[in-house]
Amino acid sequence: MGGLRGGQPPSTVAPLAFLPYPNADAPSEDLIARCVHCGLCLPTCPTFAVLGVEMDSPRGRIRLMKNVWEGRLGADAAAFDDHMNTCLDCRACETACPSGVEFGKLVEGARSQIVAARNASLGERVIRFVALDALLPHRRALAAFARFSYLSKRLGAGAALRAIGTVSHAARRLAGLLELVPDQAPTSEGLPRTVAAHGTRRARAALFGGCVQRAVFGATNAATARVLARNGVEVTVIEDQTCCGALHAHAGERDGARALARRNIAAFERAGADVVVVNAAGCGAALKEYGWLLKDDPAWHDRAARFASTVRDATEYLAEIGLREKPGPVRAKATYDDPCHLLHGQKVREQPRALLAAIPELTVVPLVEADWCCGSAGTYNVTRPELSRQLLERKVGHIKSTGAELVVTANPGCLMQIQSGLRREAPAVRVVHLIDLLDEAYGAS
């Protein structure tokens, strides 16, 4: 231990020159000042629950962000990078916080500074380019990639990779990733430009398709249009929309996110619908925050805020307008798992449950820790596979103890993650998007 240097009040004068935040996307000091370090967020943080260390808790991460402002820690410090990126960005801490700290904005701000301050390795840069620039914003490329992944899996690439994985770490990682690919073949939405409302028209909605959603779960978009139409909503599908930019923002690539946001805002303005309806919780949370994303862009800020105010999650919107047509019966025992970016990001909790309650003969049982992240968290299952696996096991354990045959959720990432977890543990349990279930119920009526 040697001579004790601790015990002194922490000095605010930096003993060494630490790199300050490089640009205006830094986590705002005013948002940080909301935190009174009471610690009420700690038990709601999955990474704190697993790791048990303060620097991987929301309060600890906020303190590190503050320490960078104070010049006690560099924005380029490896530890700063590690703790900010070990965060799931699930935002459960926001729900827990009595002072209203907006942690999502803080951690995404911090990550943007790490991207700007640190020299990423060549490998990481290549992965970022392929995923964020070459695939997500390009619908056809992403669809082709989804099809390729599905076929590789069907052709037994997983087993082959696992065999190679005994000697190669990269192959093991790839095999793990392939686990996430759904068992069903990718579906395309096959929607016309406009889906007419049944009966008198109550509103005009523009459907936000989402990139992964369109490439892998296109059928869910088609189901969303059908369910809206049945309830008197005309649905338009805009061709020139693009990826919402959520994964870019989560990864600290704010310029990339902003470029996509501007394209979407312009495209949806032209459509002139009453609402923008989205069925992927992660996208919805990002779209609703376009005002914040473009806060420093005077030409776009007001347009972004206006656009954001028209965005609704599909479950939120259906509950808001009320189901005009009664769904048919579904004889099954189901449980609902809250997508983090629906519950914590958009504060939508009761609406999906109300929709489930509207389906006759469906028994809904509560899920312990339904408000906990399943470990999917955007690209977390790629960047932190071990932690992601632990959280998934925890989720699967709770699902199994409900005895439900259906797990209902409302986000493609959660869907794929939970499906991959149940495949081995409980293959009979089906994971379904709430809107798909509702669509099936209507089919049964």
């Binding site: 004790l4 240097r5 000042a33 935190c35 009471c38 610690g39 704190f48 303060e54 808790s57 530890a79």
Partner: protein, 462 residues
């Protein structure tokens, strides 16, 4: 440090930045942080520290409000985050055996299927640990009817600062010899560490009534508290909030707290269903007689939950008013409430400080929260501490004490001479020496330290 192995030690400068604080306004840097997983780990670290003369500072969830988990004299911070298992639930004997890192509310949730709960419910109960509750002898809103932590702990496993492992008490209520469990509960880590706790479990009440009463002035609300107690009704809790607290709380929970009230009371009665309605009517009549401008009964369990979430999240909601706060914890005889509250508000106002009051009125346990922004007023903490000293002096003078439940820690140790004479403190010191002769168990806490307490001149207020 090779005592525990790499995975159980935090030793980088960057990571240790997050162990400089707790829920209070104090900070200090640790020299290392350890994360024991077993009693043997705790004892191994203690032996190592004892050999090298290094202080040990135990830490639960770091929600404390008196700086108990701050390494004010440096040394090793021992986090109990990874000793968080419920070891036994003994339903017939109404006992549970837990590790110190178990979160208070998690225990109540775990035993709820048996119709039981752990009574002490500090406002931080969603996050604070039972080890921390034992160290601070924590209270909570329901202290009024059921007592504090010490009334609900029957046994402990402890590790002394030299690594000795010992068991005190057990599952029985009475123990032969000195009440060492009672001595250890509330010792704030200055006697040693707790590694296992045997607690009493209590059957959940059959039913309850929760009434929210609004008053134009804090005086009216204070008079009502005394009138309720004098009437012979024993509520489970009587909580009071002033207007500023209510504003912050309502913005946080949207429970329907009246924003125009000068003071509000949250009164709860519980027990067997028969008689509850009668108690509620009597309480409401007393509130009306004392000028209540509105009364609301929580109609559903959800409404009650929201009202309590507001009250319990009140300190944590202070971030809506200002980035920093300093809270005091003085206790006074209930009948002196109106007068002392006025002195509390004057102590803050005369120093240009904003103050919010939210507290356990039934116990006369005040929690004046002085809110400020250190970025804009760098000397605000000093002024707040001055106001705190004046407030505590008023409490002691009124026949009360300087702390109800938050502990003395490093935050009020300089104020101890307000309440205790030198020979009282010397007697307490001999108790500490019996457990911790080397003085390595959470040093710089509870007892006044010459180096830090020089600047506090108590003469002016005595």
């Amino acid at each position: 440090m090779d005592v525990l192995g790499r995975g159980k030690v935090v030793a980088t400068r960057e990571d240790m930045l997050t162990y400089e604080y707790d829920g209070s306004a104090d900070t200090a840097s640790p020299d290392a942080v350890v994360l024991p997983e077993t009693t043997a780990d705790v004892a191994a670290v203690a032996r190592f520290c004892h050999e090298h003369g290094v202080p040990i500072v135990p830490r639960g969830a770091g929600t404390g409000l008196s700086g108990g988990a701050i390494p004010v004299e440096g040394g090793v911070v021992m986090s109990f985050a990874r000793m968080a298992r419920i070891l036994e639930i003994d339903v017939p004997n109404l006992r549970a055996v837990v590790q110190p890192g178990v979160v208070n509310l998690h225990l109540s949730t775990a035993v709820a299927p048996h119709g039981l709960y752990f009574v002490p419910d500090p406002s931080s109960q969603k996050a604070c640990t039972l080890g921390g509750n034992v160290a601070e002898n924590s209270g909570g809103p329901h202290t009024l009817a059921y007592g504090v932590t010490t009334n609900h702990v029957t046994g402990l496993e402890i590790v002394l600062s030299d690594g000795t492992i010992a068991r005190l008490g057990g599952k029985a209520v009475e123990d032969e010899g000195y009440d060492l469990v009672g001595t250890f509960v509330g010792s704030e880590g200055t006697l040693g560490m707790v590694t296992e706790i045997t607690v009493k479990l209590t059957p959940l009440a059959e039913d309850r009534r929760t009434v929210l009463a609004a008053f134009t002035t804090m005086d009216q609300a204070s008079e009502t508290v005394s009138a309720i107690i004098a009437s012979g009704v024993v509520p489970a809790a009587i909580e009071m909030m002033d207007n500023l607290s209510t504003q912050a709380v309502e913005e946080s929970v949207h429970a329907g707290y009246p924003l125009d009230a000068g003071g509000i009371l949250l009164v709860e009665v519980e027990g067997v269903r028969d008689g509850l309605e009668d108690a509620r009517e009597r309480i409401e009549a007393i509130c009306r007689a004392n000028g209540a401008s509105s009364l609301r009964l929580a109609a559903t369990a959800l409404e009650r939950e929201k009202l309590w979430a507001g009250r319990k999240g009140a300190f944590a909601a202070m971030g809506r008013l200002a980035p920093d706060y300093y809270v005091q914890d003085g206790v006074i005889p209930r009948t002196r409430l109106p007068e002392i509250l006025r002195r509390v508000n004057e102590a803050a106002a005369s120093r240009g400080l904003r103050i919010a009051n939210v507290f356990h009125a039934g116990d006369g346990n005040l929690h004046p929260l002085i809110v400020f922004d250190l970025r804009k007023e760098p000397d605000a903490l000093r002024r707040a501490q001055e106001a705190g000293l004046e407030i505590l002096a008023a409490c002691v003078e009124a026949g009360g004490s300087i702390t109800g439940e938050h502990g003395v820690g490093m935050e009020k140790n300089c104020f101890m001479p307000l309440q205790f004479r030198p020979d009282d403190l010397a007697a307490m010191r001999r108790v500490k020496d019996a457990f911790d002769p080397a003085g390595l168990a959470n040093p710089g806490k509870v007892f006044p330290t010459p180096s830090r307490c020089r600047e506090f001149s108590l003469g002016a207020v005595r």
